[in-house]
Each structure stands twice: as structure tokens, then as C-alpha cells.
């Protein structure tokens, strides 16, 4: 009798353990699902200057809003619950208020966790995003003299330059604004200033707009590409002065470009 009781108790116990585990596992999976949904919410979020790469930023940000407090232009906002941005993280919308690139970077200094990296010393080195021009709707590209983005750009001449082109039926040149990713901070002052109804120049996170060539392509006409160093025809001051160095073996070389044929 005592034995039988004990067996039932053990079975009940094991069942209870199984039930408890099932409840815990279901809860944990739901929770994890919510986290995944939230963390991959929206790829368009523009982060404050110095923000770590997005996954690290999302892990490190404690959602305290001190960067928002210390932003003198009210540029930064905290993403509310239920919006399409990861909950509680700081972001900005350039068309509303762009980042005015404070030289003392108060938002970054306010960050207690390092989600806004303290390694950013010069605000012009920040890379919050990249401005992209819709050349079909840009007034300058359509032939009007606008160039407001170029004039407003805090890194005018570096981040945005103007290229002149002759036009077929008029003696006046076209002035094409061009964005250069090596200098554009993504502050969005251009997007704010753009006079078109919907901005023809907009800032996006780099991942959304930038491609990547890949290392196996050789650009034979550039001086930087190793494979063509020996027959570089017009390299300045290279001719005759020093013996041509044997080119380093680049990856992806085979008989086709090593002269084996």
C-alpha cells in the first residue's frame, strides 16, 4: 500500500515537473519572440552620433534618455512602445529636426553605458547615416539653380560637392549636387533644407543604401590596385626612378591574369 502510494506520488511529481517545464518553456519562447520582433523592428532608425553598430547599440543602450535630455536642439527622441522603432532607444528624424553637429557632442557625453561610443572625438567623424539624392526629383538635377543642400551642408565641398555639366539647348550649365560617403556624417541638415515637397535628398543608415564591391574585383585603371603596379603608365615620378617592384600576389589570381596563357 505504501509502495503504491509512493509510485503514484512519483508519477504525479514527474508530471508536475513536466507541466511546470512546459509552462516555463512556452513563456520563455513567447518572451524571446517578442524580443526578436522588437529588436529587428525597423532598419531605418537614425542613431545619435557615435552610436555603436546597431546590434551592439541595441544591447548596450539602457534606454535612459540622457542623450535626449542633453540634446540642445531637441533633435533626439526616445522610441515609444508600439511604434515601429526598437522600444525606448534614441533616434532622430532629420526632416523634423536634423542633428546640428555640436562640436562638444553632449549626447555622446551623456551616455552612461557607452552605447554612444566615447571614442568619437570629432563630430565630423560621426557616421549617423548617408545622404542619398533622388536625381529624378532633385531641382538641381532637373536643371533649376537650387543647390540648397550644398550650401547648407556643414561639410560643404567635402560631403556634398557640385559638378557642372553643359546642357544641350542652353548656354547655362547644370549644377549637380553629389554626396560623398567618405565625408557625409548623416546629420540630415540637407534633408531638412531641401525645398521639394518630399525631400529629394534623404539620410538613411549606411546598410540601407551602400553596396560593397567585393575584394575579387580588380580595378585596373586605379593606382591603388596592386596587380597593375608594374605597367602603370603615367604614375607620377615612378618612371625610371626606382626598379619596378614585383607585384604582391593578390587573392583570386590564376593563369588568366598571371600570363600563363
Amino acid at each position: 500500500m505504501a509502495m503504491a502510494e509512493k509510485t503514484v506520488t512519483r508519477r504525479e511529481f514527474l508530471l508536475q515537473v513536466a507541466q511546470g517545464t512546459a509552462v516555463a518553456a512556452t513563456g520563455a519562447m513567447l518572451w524571446l519572440y517578442m524580443l526578436r520582433q522588437e529588436a529587428r523592428a525597423h532598419p531605418f532608425a537614425l542613431r545619435p552620433p557615435g552610436a555603436l553598430p546597431e546590434p551592439d547599440f541595441l544591447a548596450a543602450c539602457i534606454k535612459c534618455g540622457k542623450c535626449v535630455n542633453d540634446c540642445p536642439y531637441d533633435t533626439l527622441k526616445l522610441a515609444p512602445a508600439g511604434g515601429n522603432l526598437p522600444i525606448g532607444t534614441p533616434f532622430f528624424t532629420p526632416r523634423d529636426i536634423p542633428c546640428y553637429l555640436c562640436p562638444d557632442i553632449p549626447c555622446m557625453k551623456a551616455c552612461p553605458t557607452g552605447a554612444l561610443s566615447p571614442e568619437l572625438n570629432n563630430i565630423n567623424d560621426s557616421r549617423m547615416g548617408l545622404a542619398v539624392i533622388d536625381i529624378e526629383n532633385c531641382l538641381s538635377w532637373r536643371g533649376l539653380r537650387c543647390e540648397i543642400c550644398h550650401r547648407e551642408c556643414p561639410l560643404k565641398g567635402k560631403a556634398i560637392t557640385l559638378e557642372t555639366h553643359p546642357r544641350p539647348i542652353s548656354k547655362h550649365a547644370m549644377f549637380y549636387p553629389m554626396v560623398h560617403s567618405d565625408a557625409c556624417t548623416g546629420c540630415g541638415i540637407c534633408e531638412k533644407a531641401c525645398p521639394t515637397e518630399e525631400p529629394a535628398i534623404r539620410v538613411f543608415p549606411h546598410k540601407m543604401v551602400q553596396g560593397k564591391i567585393g575584394e575579387h574585383y580588380r580595378l585596373g585603371w586605379t593606382f591603388e590596385t596592386e596587380i597593375t603596379q608594374d605597367f602603370k603608365p603615367s604614375a607620377p615620378s615612378a618612371a625610371g626612378s626606382a626598379p619596378a617592384k614585383a607585384p604582391k600576389k593578390a587573392p583570386g589570381m590564376d593563369y588568366l591574369n598571371e600570363g600563363g596563357l
Binding site: A39, A60, G65, G83
Partner: protein
Amino acid sequence: MSAIEPTRQDAQASLDKIHTRTLPQRLWSWRYIVLRRLSQLGILLMFFGTAHWGWQIAQDVPLLTGNLSASKFAGILPMADPFAVLQIFLTGHVLQTEVLLGAGTVFAFYLILGGRVYCAWVCPVNMVTDLANWLRMRLDVRPIFHITRNVRYLMLAAALVLSVVSGVAAFEWVSPIGMMHREIIFGLGLGFIALLAIFLFDLLILKNGWCGHLCPLGAFWSVIGHHTAQLRVRFDASTCTHCGECARVCPEPQVLNLKKIAEVGYVYSGECSNCGRCSPLCPEGSLAFDLRPLIRKHNERSARVTP
């Protein structure tokens, strides 16, 4: 400790004392509720005033920036939620000194005062769940089911494990506490829906459901305060008549196991949030806030006076 067990008549006499209280006595018995609301709202107001009206303590020294996750008081004192910091640490991120210092400060504060002092005196969600609980008592809502209050420790463990697994601070990303203070300080979103859910859950489904059963932050602070809290509710067994009013109003009634707390001399459980409901209500004055090192002496003296 008295050798004579209190009788049913003693208990009834105690209850009568409560029911015949005058209005000033009754108002006085709400003192801790009023103080707690002042504390909870005052902290939110300091955050809000600093964020929206530029409140300063001196020229260019903001009063209290940030929110309950991390903040800075008067430009010098960093504070941070140690539970949030622990979760971020578990995601594998190297944290900066400021937030570690802040977490250490807050941790030390509650370690000495009692961890769940946060729950009753600081946490804004407490106002929502207190309202639900008050309404539940008023409407006499019957319980549907019971679950063990230890579920919260499971939630605590899950928050830590899921932080490792998901790479983000698991509780911070779904925390209704975070949603509430962030949205009060930094602007409205849909976080109030989560609060409404908690309100309805506590009101109609499970009494003290969120704060008393599920909240992992409450569980975290329960663990922290358990052995080190210096501000505790002293229990004077010699005057107690076992009328049971304290356990009826206590949001964590399991901490008021009279037999056990009579042995120890005070409410020792880390799950006690020092909310101060029991103490002003007790008609015999058997429960009162006291400093832990003095409790034994006070109880001995009281036992001598009342045989």
C-alpha cells in the same frame, strides 16, 4: 514573549478598536500611503521637470536627468538600475564606468535600506497596482485561481537567461515599468496598454498579480534586501492579539507568518516592501518600522512591560 495565547475576545477587541477610530486617527493611519505617493510622484516630477522645463539645481546643473533606468542627480551623482545593468552585462557588452558606478550606488542604497523599498516607494507601476488592489477589495472580486508567488523568481532567472540568448536586455525590452516612466518623462506611446493590462490582470484575474507574482524586478530586489535590509517592520508578539488585519491589507501576506516573525522579532522576508500598510493599521501597535540592530532590544523591553 507572552506565555498566554491571545483569545478570540482579544482579537475582537482589536478589530473594534480599528472600527471605532475617529477621522483624525484614520487620516493619520494613511501617513505612509501619502508619503509613498509623494515619493513616487516627486521622483517622476523631478525627471519630468528636468526634461521639459529645464529644472536646474544651479547654473547649468540639471536637477535629475534620465529616468529610472539610469540617471544623474545634480550633475554629480550617477544612478542606474542594477538589474538592467546586469542584463546588459549578460548580453556580453562591456559597460562604461559611469553606469557601473551608478548601479553600485543604487545597489548599495537598497542593500542597506531593503531592496523592495524600491517597489513601494519609487516604482510608478505600484500606483497602478495599488489602485487595482484597492478597487478589487472594494468590489470584493473573488479569486479565479492561485499560482505560487515564486513564479517571479522563475521570471528573474528567465530574464537573465534570455538576455544571454537574445543579445538584448530581456526584461528592459518588455518592461511595463520602463514603458511607464519613459512615456511619462519622454512622451506617450502605446505603453499605457501594457499598464491597462496589468491593471485588469490585478483587478479581475489575480490579486497582486503583477507586483506580487510576476515582476522579475521585484524578485531581484527581494533577493537583494533579504539578509541585509536594516529598515524592517518590528513585530512585538507580546501585544499581538492575532486579529489578522495586517495580513488582510498586506500585498505580500506570506511575509506576515506570525509564528515565524515572532521567533525572529521582525518581518524578515525580502519580499516585504516596507510599504507601511500594516503598521498604522495595527490596533495594538505590534508592528512598527524599526532599525534592525535595535529590534531585539525594543522587543525585550516591550515583553517586560506587557507580561
